[in-house]
Amino acid sequence: MGKKILTEHIDVPGIETFDVYRKQGGYTAVEKAIKTMTPEAVVEEVKKAGVRGRGGAGFPMGMKWSFLAKPEGVPRYLVCNADESEPGTFKDHYLMKNIPHLLIEGMIVSSFALGANTSFIYVRGELMYVIKILEKAIAEAKAAGFLGKNILGSGYDLELVVQPGGGAYICGEETALLESLEGKRGNPRNKPPFPAVKGLYQSPTVVNNVESIATTPWIMNNGGDAYAAIGIGRSTGTKLISASGHIKKPGVYEIELGVPVEEFIYSDEWCGGIRDGHHLKALVAGGSSVPILPAGLALKLANGEPRLMSYESLSEGGFQTGTMLGSGGFIVFDETACIVRNTWNFSRFYHHESCGQCSPCREGTGWMEKVLHRIEHGHGSLHDIDLLVDVARKIEGNTICPLGDAAAWPVASAIRHFREEFEWHITNPFEATQPGAVFRGEMALA
């Protein structure tokens, strides 16, 4: 069994209530931080832990915290990103629904460290039932004196606000999220200024993912060094992986970073292997935005060594032979999955979710969806493959926010590794458009 930090108590009956959570040692981190530590000391522990942002980008949390501007007389804000809309990702949903107090406790510790007196949890609006669970947890914590005015007699005040989104993937991007929280359309902002300087209401703001914030109670209780001792190299700690697709046991698993990908897929402790009678074809390891890998490269690096579930190992080989850990949305494809159809599906998603501010993203995602649609439906030409590569390249790096890149990578990588399958669709349109038809040729392994 791997080390469990976030989900150790998640199966305890009643853990969603304050009393049971408290009995399992809950809120001791708040007591320790607020009564015995300075905010700076809390930041220091989080830095030592080396925990990297779990929302997708992997930026070190402690470092982000230390960049927060602290001008006199200006409020500072902490905003928790619970927008969770990246296809393949459902871990924050799982955590908040089952053990809401872990996030609330983390929000208190983190807000104290940053000197925030009003903090927000921005939850995608579709999860309204989870919002109610969080609001109930907040009311319980407040009644017990862990929130509100003068927490534990320390003089520190904190209010937590749970904010529903309105349905928009782009609001997961941190500056779009802040716009949305101000009651506007979710258009990402130009950076700089970064949120650490001008964020919510033009005040210094930290935005962190649910899972990132949920690590802080354990770090307070056990120390940053203890956290850093878990995991592998610069991938410290544990990670929640949302496993979906053609596996025996889809679900959310907490793993110690560094577990081999092969073990994660085939061990009964986790995914339990590919569903009976089928075999692995491809893997999207970190949410729909990261490059797709063929089976061979998913399990092994280009040099033949096992690939591990860590930031470094998953990105080993760059975009030629690697991918990214991203949000931990682990989507498994067996040989019945059509890569062209899935790529078209993802393209439609990005086109639908583009906010439309930058022309390369707005137009480019539309083009890619259209071209992929015609290939999938038997009307493509071989020239279309290069056209897609070209459009993807023109979007990448030329947009206000990374949604453009996120739209380009799945297309570019699918063509890089499964070009034959695209060609087959184009040269065998009749066969390829039969219901359930899938390319069964030799799979590209590199």
């Binding site: 809309s85 039932y129 009651g183």
Partner: protein, 167 residues
């Protein structure tokens, strides 16, 4: 967006008004516009959709221009800008759910109800709407009706749910 020339006005029920006021009070002074998305949810909860009259009412309540409300409501996918059926089935069409047979179940659902995406059944009971990933991919195929998630869908399960809600 539909415009109407009726003089119908919308007002929150006393409970919803109290709820709206509590939401507005959460934000720092002068930042009441932050309440816009939550208030649109309350409006839709009451009216079934975000009607133009309702949006004007919300604009008044937040002391902002009606256009500031319309432009927000039309940006986000959850707000219905047209009247909808009693039950809006928001069906996830994204990749991971499709791997679990989501497309086949979706075809069955549309056939059973005799509607396409965006349409409402003749009896006004169901509207089918396609949505993107609902953060429940491991439990796919998935659809949502109001706050409730329906997961691990099969054709049989869809029949049961529809029959139940048709009663």
């Amino acid at each position: 967006m539909t415009t109407t020339n009726t003089t119908r006005t919308v007002e929150f029920t006393p409970e919803r008004l109290a709820q709206a006021k509590a939401v507005i009070a959460q934000y720092p002074a002068g930042k009441q516009k932050s309440a816009l998305l939550p208030l649109l949810h309350i409006l839709q909860e009451q009216e079934g959709w975000t009607s133009p009259e309702g949006m004007d009412y919300v604009a008044d309540m937040l002391d902002i221009q009606p256009i500031e409300v319309y432009e927000v409501a039309s940006f986000y996918t959850m707000y219905h800008l047209e009247p909808v059926g009693k039950h809006v089935i928001e069906y996830c069409r994204t990749g991971p759910c499709c791997l679990m047979g989501g497309e086949e179940v979706y075809a069955h659902l549309k056939q059973k109800l005799g509607v396409e995406a965006g349409q409402t059944t003749a009896d006004g009971l169901f509207t089918v709407k396609e949505v993107e990933c609902l953060a429940a991919c491991g439990m796919g195929p998935v659809f949502q009706i109001r706050e409730k998630y329906y997961m691990h869908l099969t054709n049989e399960r869809v029949d049961e749910i529809i029959d139940e809600l048709s009663k």
